[in-house]
Amino acid sequence: MNDNPLWSLFSLFVVLSLLSVGGANAAIPEMHRVAVDVMGWMSDSQFADMFAIAQMSPGPNVIIVALIGFHVAGLAGAGVAIAAMCGPTCVLAFAVSRTWDRFKGARWRMALQAGLVPVSLGLIGASAFVLARAADHNGYAFLITAATVAVALATRINPLWVFLAGAGLGYAGLV
């Protein structure tokens, strides 16, 4: 049972579904740890490629899960990965949406909301670190990352232009 790749995908993402506080991006380090280090499904740079493809595609960021699933086990893998990642959290969201308004102003609700923010910040910070380390395999790549941070902090530029610039520098053979 354990060597079935579909089962491995399912058990990874079904757990991540309920632990990714702060969105799919908070779960990137764990996906990376399991997919690259534990299971050996792909290399560091393949993982960075998939994140790049998911970011360039329209739609929610969670679709990186479908890319990982497809890489491991084709169409069935993509379907299992997405269903496992979205299933538990969708059921929870549905259940909570029916009762949440009733507890407006309750102390435990405010504590829960405030308490999870720093956890999710730390997890998304770890994502940024893992992605930068996977993508910045030479000095030029590091410069692209650093320049992107500077430009995105200083301007309100559409991210599409940043990706195009990165693609152009990559095409020129710098990365």
């Binding site: 757990v15 991540l16 579904s17 309920l18 990714s20 506080v21 799919a24 764990e30 740890r33 740079s45 960075a48 360039m56 595609s57 329209p58 739609g59 929610p60 960021n61 969670v62 679709i63 479908a66 497809f70 169409l75 993509a78 979205c86 969708c90 929870l92 969201a93 549905f94 909570v96 949406s97 102390r107 405010m110 504590a111 829960l112 909301q113 405030a114 308490g115 999870l116 720093p118 997890l123 998304i124 910070g125 940024a128 670190f129 930068a132 993508a135 790549a141 692209i144 990352t145 992107t148 941070v149 902090l153 991210p159 599409l160 940043v162 990706f163 610039a165 990165g166 990559g170 095409y171």
Partner: protein, 196 residues
């Protein structure tokens, strides 16, 4: 990347209210439109469609639903679609909003995955992707810096300590996420309990 959004068909669209329920087909079509225009995160587009175009919700209602979908675990946009769909159309509404949001991007990304598996080894393509990956990592770093600002600059509180511990546990020590979460989340919520 910016697909046309389905424009509101009826000029007599009522203003947002608790009793108003958009038809299920309209709910599905609305999220279908959001899914493909959602480059760089779908939520700004969802806001434009729901609050400004269709007027299904007021700004306050949208902000509260948005905050809830941020707080719930899992993909934020998916949560938003489910919460929104459930509110206006029950279980059927939640399912239709989810499908509208996910089916078009999944179709596209599956096509891209197929191309990547076939042509990913070509040197030029891998160079281009490496350039984009470096830029994408930079955007993620930016997001973290913007999120950290208000939390770290506030008067002394436990939030930075929790955030840094979560970062070290996952990024430096490579502990599995479930362990880090199960240790830090209860502590952080307990600390918040005495603050709120």
């Amino acid at each position: 990347m910016v697909a046309a959004m389905p424009d509101s068909p009826a000029p007599s669209e009522p203003a947002a209210s608790q009793s108003f329920r958009p038809p299920l087909a309209a709910l599905f079509r609305a999220f279908l439109g959001v899914s493909l225009s959602g480059f760089g995160g779908a939520l700004p587009w969802a806001r434009r469609m729901i609050v400004e175009r269709k007027r299904w919700m007021t700004t306050e209602e949208f902000n509260e639903t948005f905050a809830l979908s941020q707080f719930l675990p899992g993909p934020n946009t998916v949560n938003f679609a489910v919460v929104f769909g459930a509110r206006f159309g029950g279980a059927a509404g939640a399912v239709l909003a989810f499908l509208g949001l996910m089916v078009p991007p999944l179709t596209i990304v599956t096509g891209l995955a197929f191309l990547y598996e076939r042509y990913g080894d070509i040197a030029t393509l891998s160079h281009v992707l490496a350039g984009v990956a470096a830029a994408a990592a930079g955007l993620m770093v930016t997001l973290v810096l913007k999120m950290a600002g208000p939390l770290f600059l506030k008067r002394w509180n436990s939030a930075p300590v929790v955030a840094i511990l979560a970062f070290i546990g996952v990024a430096v020590m490579h502990y599995p996420l479930p362990y880090v979460f199960l240790v830090l989340a209860p502590v952080s919520v307990a600390l918040a309990w005495f603050r709120v």
